[in-house]
Amino acid sequence: MANARELKERMASIQETKKITNAMYLISSSKMKQAKKKLADTEPFFYAMQAEITRILRHVPDMHSHFFDRRERIPAEDRKIGCIVITADKGLAGAYNHNVLKMAEELIRQPGKHKMFVLGEVGRHYFSKREDELDSEFKYTVQDPNLYRARVIAAKMVELFEAGEVDDVYIIYTRMINALQAETQKIKLLPLQRINFASDKMAAMAGVYREAVTLYPSAHKVMDSIVPNYLIGIIYGCLVESYCSEQNSRMQAMQNATDSATDMLNELNITYNRVRQADITQELTEVIGGANAQKRK
């Protein structure tokens, strides 16, 4: 058994670590509160946007927009696939980063030429050794998501797509299901998929009379305005969702760390007391033994 002094030192060091993890827990829980508010604010827009796009597409069935161009002539091996990956700026967030990177790896394994647009230091570091896959100029932080950043990212994606630099654009982000659960998801941003928008409910309504909708000033103009805006909205939503999930999983990870530190401290405390007791008993026996020996003289 370790001696009392060693145990004392170990307990002190665990205490220090516990203080740190507890502080990190508090920080992420306060950030989490802000992020949750942001998420609640942006959710109506996020869902309304998807619903409206679905509706517009339902009402305007024959639309020829280059955003729908699936470029089917390009074989699977030659397709240039761009993917926005949202990771955290730092680790210590449980499986959050790992799950995102795992999904990104899965995508890379599929045929095609991949280009990763990585947000967050962890992801960038992970891909940094594979320069052919990482777009090194794509540098944005994931802290405090704002519309400006979403706008810049969306503009870049649209530009690349229109220039033919990428044929498909995906985004990998983490969706918060509830306070305990988060799920990594992959959405296809471009080209727009009609199936994507038309849910099962829509299929049942296929026979229903569809009212005509006029697009003003022109169908193209409207699509050109809606699609980039839709992308901005979706990207912003994804950034906020991811940020919220990140803080959530960090909070959980830190809570677990604090809890296990407490457990360890308890155990060590018991051991320490035992050691101390053993020491005292030994000393006592020595003293008594000494006294007896003196008496017998």
Partner: protein, 138 residues
């Protein structure tokens, strides 16, 4: 007067939800007014001022950025990236943004950057304009 149901949603809040008599949207070639029982339509909304008349006859003005409006069955949804009341606008910030954008426009830059700067200039100008004439009325 006839009214229709209006919902103005921006990316960070639901700006307006309720009945409306008249809605004026900024579009590419001017302004676009929507009254009750308008034809079904989808309209591309540009940076500019949005005005809406509540059932009580009060006008509400907002600076909006790009988005779209959808008019179906006497229900109108306006989805824009941002919508601000004149009193919410931070004039100083808008002024700074305008100067920044103008400065950027002077530099040589790629077409994409040019468009971005131009768009942010337009947003800043709209904000400034909206914040100035607070008592908009017809």
């Amino acid at each position: 007067m006839n009214t229709f149901f209006l919902k103005v949603i921006s990316s960070d809040k639901v700006f307006y939800e309720g009945k409306c008599q008249n809605l004026i949207l900024p579009i590419e070639d001017g302004q676009f007014s929507v009254l009750a029982h308008h034809e079904n339509m989808v309209v591309a909304v540009e940076n500019g001022e949005l005005h809406l008349k509540t059932p009580e006859g009060e006008w509400i003005t907002a600076a909006v950025s790009q988005g779209f409006a959808e008019i179906i069955n006497n229900r109108v949804s306006v989805l824009v990236n941002s919508a601000e009341r004149p009193e919410e606008i931070d004039v100083k910030r808008a002024e700074e943004a305008r100067q920044r954008a103008q400065e950027r426009l002077r530099h040589k830059q790629s077409i994409q950057e040019y468009y971005l700067s131009q768009a942010s200039l337009a947003r800043a100008m709209t904000r400034l304009k909206t914040s100035k004439d607070k008592n908009w009325n017809i």
